[in-house]
Symmetry: C2
Subunit: 317 residues, 2 copies
């Protein structure tokens, strides 16, 4: 921060500098789970952010058109819509319903004015969906193949259903953004586990139609990460960069183990540098699932987000 040589408006200039520093920081509404969309938008704007990543439940509470207005009224843009996906069931009726829901999500994204629809593709047929009661799934007979645990076939269904959705997404100017989830979630949430695998799935499609998200929590451990981030950039497929930290011990619900950048073990500086070097110039979304953070005052969460962004992310962006 340089000291001005004229006496006017240093406070205003400082505020403007801060706004510039936060220009690419986006609040994902999952981080302030208990806020409605209007509340989250107000909190993001008050903290000096320019973007918000929205979850469909909070969008649907007010309707996509009203959601778009609320976001615009706060001077924000929508960095992404979370989430489509859960495309892996072998059951034809279930698959048809999943595709229909994804078409709705595509229309919602278009209405919200974001290109980027984040896709969590879904887990194994044998595994209870998140939130469902655990149920024992019978093992296959001795020697027989077990379709409910067949990862290869499940992944092929993802490819097939992305192909079914891609033309509809393209028509609506929306990109299907494949999210590799941490392998901890391969059974119950996403059979796409690495950035390289997501890029292989995206390869048959134009980069404007199928992209990928780099979420530090999910991919930080990957020994192939630097190469795959560079590849994603070269292919023009990085649709979103999401940051949070890997905190231990894991929460009882492992999904909620995510922490503020700087509170865990992820080398966010290095990964951010790789994303920068890959040419990514979009928003940096903070998406944290964490009971303790959800229990805090939202202003405190936003303040911590901003502080960590300035300290750990911005210098490398």
């Amino acid at each position: 921060m340089t000291t001005g040589t004229v006496a006017v408006a240093p406070v205003a200039r400082a505020a403007e500098g801060r706004r510039a520093d936060l220009a690419r920081l986006s609040l994902n509404t999952a981080t302030t789970k208990h806020l409605t969309l209007p509340e989250a938008a107000a909190a993001a704007a008050a903290a000096g952010l320019s973007a918000i990543g929205v979850w469909r439940d909070r969008v649907q509470e007010v309707g996509a058109e009203q959601a778009a207005r609320v976001v615009a009224d706060h001077g924000l843009r929508v960095s992404s819509l979370c989430r489509g996906g859960f495309l892996t069931t072998p059951d034809p009726d279930g698959a048809a319903a999943a595709l229909e829901d994804n078409r709705l999500a595509i229309r919602e994204a278009a209405t919200l004015g974001t290109r980027e629809l984040i896709m969590v593709v879904g887990g194994l047929p044998a595994c209870p969906a998140p939130g469902a009661a655990a149920r024992p799934y019978p093992s296959a007979d001795a020697g027989a193949p077990d379709p409910a645990r067949d990862l290869v076939a499940t992944r092929q269904r993802v490819a097939d259903r992305v192909a079914e959705l891609a033309p509809y997404a393209a028509e609506h100017g929306v990109r299907l953004v494949l999210e590799p989830l941490h392998p901890m979630f391969a059974a119950d949430r996403a059979v796409v586990s690495t950035l390289g695998q997501a890029l292989d799935l995206a390869a048959p499609f134009a980069p404007e139609v199928v992209g990928v998200v780099v979420d530090t929590y999910h991919v930080w451990w990957d020994p192939d990460l630097q190469r795959q981030v560079a590849r994603a950039g070269a292919e023009g497929r990085i649709a979103s960069y999401q940051v949070c930290d890997w905190v231990l011990p894991l929460a009882a619900e492992p999904l909620n183990s995510r922490g503020h950048v700087g509170d865990g073990y992820v080398d966010v500086a290095t990964i951010t540098g790789w994303v920068r070097d890959a040419g990514y110039a979009g928003d940096v979304e903070v998406e944290i699932f964490n009971e303790a953070i959800w229990a805090q005052a939202p202003e405190r969460t936003l303040a911590t987000m901003a502080e960590r962004h300035l300290r750990h992310v911005l210098p490398h962006l």
Copy 2:
């Protein structure tokens, strides 16, 4: 099972058939955590097994020479010694101590008559070692590199220290067996997270000196698994095949979430077929960390192991 045309000894023949069916099944002593080595060896022999994989704590209780005698007296072979590793500290004194402990483990393996020393390489410097109290680790200053979270450098230290140990292992006829651990453990236990990465680390060394273990729990999710198992086989580096299942929900201590084959979501049939196709002809170790299984009578654990082996593994082996 065919019916004999002569009246003699059908029971003995059945027992012999069962022993043949279990000929490659090995009890890893972690599965019967509360048994001493003599007790575990007796339980394995009584269940009709021919091999046992031993942990160093149970070996050291009786001493390596006595342990070798106990195992031999029960007609068993040692399929592997668990474990060396934890080589990642940047602290010179800590590194020297780790190397010295690994040299001891190499001598113990040689005394036990197993070639295979399983290596869990260790986690990030920033992360408390398993069992240690959680401690906050200071974040690096803004913009500065953070060596304690630097995965790339930590992985390089693993490579360097494997190179230091390899000649000593070779002299003793022992193989350093790199174990990729599930990425869930990348921060605190092993910065080697995929089979491909383990093979890359092993590449500079002869396959008799540095190998890899395929543990279904750790690698089942990997989209590149089939290719890397084939590569491991072609290179002659598959030193051990360990089986257990991915059970949800995760235990409070995620390490202890492993379950009996057939109780979770791993497609053990398919992975076993890949391991077979890669030419692996060694033992199949069952290594389960699970509080509920530890609380059971060991005979029941061994009986379940054998039943699952016959049902889910042997048909594909």
